[in-house]
């Protein structure tokens, strides 16, 4: 049995409680739900950020996340998985990304969510542009994100 997977790439906000309920409400087989919310910070390296604008590659963004979602559901015993990634202009305090994993036990739910976020950051075709007092600039990829992905590679 494969877990139901929901992937949405959208401009609008999402409701975390509603997404948790969609995976666990009315079920007695789910023992653990882990959520990760990525939120737009108001500062970066000491500079105030006015907003982030997320560009994405329509079609590939969903396809790429689906490939990793399939790997996740084959590696961990999940009962449900939801990934929502927003695009467009997002101001500090607003949601950017959501991963929800449901499983019988917490370890699978934690690990699956962590794995997905590590891959999302380095492989999903999204690009952030920051707006600050200095103007607009593209966010540079971080080496520590690549290192985070590498730890999931099987020896």
């Amino acid at each position: 049995m494969t877990a139901p997977v929901t992937i949405r790439i959208q401009e609008s906000d999402f409701d975390v409680a509603q997404e948790i309920a969609a995976l666990s409400e009315g079920r007695t087989d789910v023992g653990a739900v882990v959520t990760f919310s990525g939120i737009c910070r108001g500062t970066e390296g000491g500079d105030a950020i006015a907003a982030l604008t997320l560009e994405h590659y329509p079609g590939m963004a969903e396809a790429e996340i689906r490939r990793y979602a399939e790997e996740v559901t084959s590696r961990w015993p999940l009962q449900g998985l939801t990934v929502i990634h927003r695009f467009g202009r997002i101001t500090p305090g607003q949601n950017i990304v959501l991963v929800v994993t449901a499983s019988q036990h917490r370890q699978a739910a934690f690990e699956a969510a962590s794995f997905l976020m590590d891959y999302l950051k380095t492989s999903a075709p999204f690009w952030k542009q920051e707006e600050s007092a200095k103007g607009k600039g593209w966010v540079e990829a971080q080496a520590h994100d690549d290192a985070a992905v590498a730890r999931w590679t099987k020896p």
Binding site: G38, L54, E55, H56, Y57, G59, M60, A63, E64, R67, H85, I96, V97, M117, L120, K121, T122, S123, A124, P125, F126, W127, K128, Q129, W138, V139, E140, A141
Partner: protein, 83 residues
């Protein structure tokens, strides 16, 4: 084939997508970057940091040595910064 550009690659080239017809000798993603870069300065500027440019063929990541034969859509972009 259709080519798409994203983020600062798109900004440097000055367009989001275009239809191109590379000659037969252009066989790999790397060949295509070299061919585009030779076209004019905007492409050369977009692809100047060649090692950081990522590519996808038909919505899947590929390496520079990947063959482009049969590709419907090729995309070029900087390292991803989503999540």
């Amino acid at each position: 084939m259709k080519v798409k550009y994203f983020a600062w690659v798109r900004e440097r080239i000055g367009k989001a997508e275009e239809i191109i017809e590379p000659p037969e000798g252009v066989r790999t993603v790397d060949d295509l970057i070299a061919w585009l870069s030779a076209r004019d300065e905007t492409y050369a500027y977009a692809f100047e940091k060649r090692r950081v440019i990522r590519a996808a063929i038909d919505h899947a990541h590929v390496k520079p040595e990947a063959a482009i034969a049969g590709a419907r859509e090729i995309a070029f972009f900087p390292p991803m910064t989503g999540g």
